[in-house]
Symmetry: D2
Subunit: 288 residues, 4 copies
């Protein structure tokens, strides 16, 4: 974990690892589609017998849908079972802890997929009547789309004034990129505003929290026996992918194909003290 | 996870569970020694074949030492391997991620036990010379004792201005009780002040973080196969024991023998939205 | 500043003061109109020759409009020059510091009144084209209405990624009541979310900041000579009205006709350490 | 308030202003004494009939003592009445609001000067007996020296658990420089840790809070009539001197002789959005 900001070619790094965890946005794809050289890189890793697992703070779609989307944009080799999403963590919580009542959600109908698998009736914040909340047993933030921010966030604040229920944030991200130089406010920031207003403690899932890393690690252990430091976590964001990977004991590689540019990288590492083991331009092979 | 603040007798709650995770301070013991009825309660659970694991945010001593201390105050049946501490988590991180250099620590010589097991030279912040920090490879907050707060915290801030290294907080607690109505500032608060001043991101271990629960769960899985919701997490603090247990998918019981009194309990649950499955006076059996 | 939570009748308190500063919402009026006994109380104070000044964290309307609204609901004696709003503070800043370009605002056309008085062209965030922001010289948060939260807050975040400009928050309130048991998210909370996302330092106006108290004090000094502790600040909120008044050196009275109920009052004072000099049911006279 | 990071010579900037507010540390002096060219620059400004006022977040000494210290290091022309310190603001609060009991303080005997002027008995945290706190009526943080951090900050936390009293922070600074590349933790950071632990709301004085600017402005108004934007605020720190000056409506100049280097300056302005009107190497004349 020396502090060295020299850029290395991804192939020179990945050859030491049998299992690779990849963040999705900024590593595999961006707003414009698959990142250059990624298709070939993933195929290469698969050929070499490496396990490739995607760890994504995406709770807007099911892993099945995420896998279909990868296929649609031409990426092969990432199936449903290779994807671990923060939405799955939220689903696990709901299954374990919420056994009755209706589960309220903030997001699209598609994102509510998770909630439905729990086997309880669900209701969008859009459809909630504040005079009929007796049986609401939990609230889940799933997506930044699918509801009217002004009226439905106001309704959410009042719901939490009237009912003491667990609140789950299925995606802790603050923003997500929508073009080369623009972002959208993400679920984590919206939930954060409501949490601050209501002064409650919400339950947050997603990187950098250990739970997703642990879940992916357990999944890998069913396929092969390996130590944490035999796994390489690759991400474009220091304060989710890299600090989370470091804390869990994985080797970490920062790639410069997403959130973090080469210029910013040195400043960010120095100012945060979050140190990746390696820095690569992207996961494309032979790029240096 | 219904919202019900009725007090129940611990025996009526625990009979549904095969494995019990216990917080230490405020559940098993307090500033005055073992809490009334705890000795008998733990013996009972053992007799009934339940696994009892202690989860403690204590990084000032090794589990071996913690077990010896339990024995000294007359508690039997809790051996070294039944104790999971946040210090062990920090140790795991150091072993996995720090492979060279000297590890600096803030705490007593006794707390430095963890650091020594890593197999690297260690140095107390008290002994560091800021002109000779080239090979310092990590810094660990272990204890609130064993150093001079003024001169050595100032030295810590300057160390972090000069070196970009990972900083580990082995105990996230803010205060710990020292008598019926008094507390001391704990490691987590001290580290939090330094983190804010240095604007870095430290790596925090200890409840409510999932990692300790996961570690305890993995340990239990080696003894017997069981589901998360077959485990009861018992603690005296909503925002470490209970929210952490809930998030990990355990059943949770708040006890009123420590940090949280019966009066405060209703206000705290309502204002935080952290809801235990059960509330008991203490882990003493047949108390209601 | 003794710590005494006995309720007193407002007339027994106010008789010691020549000048009274009143918060508006929760003190003079609420969601249902003028609070009982307030009309008579203000008339009484005026008759006794006291100065009555309204200090409000309202930047959605001009003081002129606020005065008209008081008149409409039947309150006499509060004219435009008796009202100090956080919007006026923001206007003062803009006049002093922004001398060219267009001023962008978030709020209704009515709230943009402030911006227009500066004498520069203004533009609603709704109408901004991110490709034409060269001459945008400041951004002001004025109201929680008048724009589409989702699309225009996303646009705001991107505006601040592209332009380094001062951002002014003309109302720091987090929520405002809309009925007996419901609130809306206020400008301060929305601006706070954007500030956190953009990692900039916004300039916040409104109680508890000293600037509004100072402005009101200066206005009073033009009418009569008096010391700060001859002024009584009356409010329904500890962490804006009371802490701000205390810090500025005024005597303070908490009223229980708004945000803070009698039950909560003791808990809040104890937990925050914000201590009003007096506590009254409302500003109605002879109520105890 | 255009965004322009070109460096200008201080004499070309200051000639437009009749009154100059100067931060002390990093502008007038540093750890090594008076900054080069400052003696001559202040003499020049005086000769030209400008008012020079020092605004300092220093509560460790009285303005009289601060003036004596300036004289000792060879700076003439700054007398006691030209110095406004955050300690004076705290003193004003105590005089206005605390009328009985004993005032507890954290700091040196010298810093307690402020407290003594109030005319009430004072007591150092070092000397407080927690069994005899009935008549403690306020607590003031004055200095980071003069007490034992570990034992006396623990005592402070317990004092605030037992007594609901106003807590005043007379210096909000987080660190202060002690050499070219080293800092000490300052009063503001220590008080911040205790505030977070005790969950109370402390009353903070010092830049960037408006109160100090207002106090200096009122003092100037007694000497001559002038508008806020005829005053130049000069400081080395964006988030105290510059944002505070901007908010109060003053023109602002950032100097690079203290906390902020030329390299950092561009990054800091961009990342915080705090924009000074001018940037100068130092207050030395004719330096560019």
């Amino acid at each position: 974990m020396g502090y060295n900001t020299k850029l290395r070619s991804f192939d020179s790094v990945v050859k030491k690892y049998k299992t690779v965890f990849l963040d999705s946005f900024g590593v595999i794809k961006n707003y414009a589609g698959i990142i250059d050289g990624v298709k070939e890189s993933i195929a290469d890793m698969k050929t070499q017998g490496k396990d490739v697992i995607v760890l994504t703070n995406d709770s807007s779609k099911s892993p099945k849908k995420l896998a279909e989307n990868f296929e649609k944009i031409g990426l092969v080799g990432i199936s449903e079972k290779d994807i671990i999403s923060s939405g799955m963590m939220a689903l696990g919580f709901l299954k374990n802890k919420i056994t009755k009542g209706r589960i309220a959600y903030i997001g699209t109908k598609e994102s509510a997929f998770y909630v439905e698998e729990v086997g309880l009736p669900t209701i969008s914040i859009a459809d909630i009547n504040l005079d009929d909340i007796e049986d609401i047993s939990a609230l889940v933030f799933l997506d930044d789309e699918g509801f009217d921010w002004q009226s439905h966030l106001n309704k959410t604040v009042n719901l939490l004034r009237h009912k003491t229920i667990p609140v789950i944030v299925a995606n802790s991200d603050i923003t997500y990129p929508t073009s080369h130089n623009e972002v959208n406010i993400a679920t984590g920031a919206i939930a954060g505003m409501v949490e601050k207003i209501s002064k409650k403690k919400f339950i947050h899932f997603g990187k950098p929290d250990s739970q997703m890393f642990m879940f992916a690690y357990e999944q890998i252990l069913e396929r092969r026996k390996l130590d944490r430091n035999e796994i390489l976590m690759v991400g474009d964001t220091l304060n989710t992918d890299i600090i989370g990977g470091n804390k869990f004991g994985l080797s970490t590689a920062l790639v410069l194909s997403g959130n973090t540019s080469e210029n910013q990288m040195r400043i960010y590492i120095r100012s945060t003290g979050i140190i990746p083991n390696y820095i690569c331009p992207s996961i494309a092979m032979n790029t240096i």
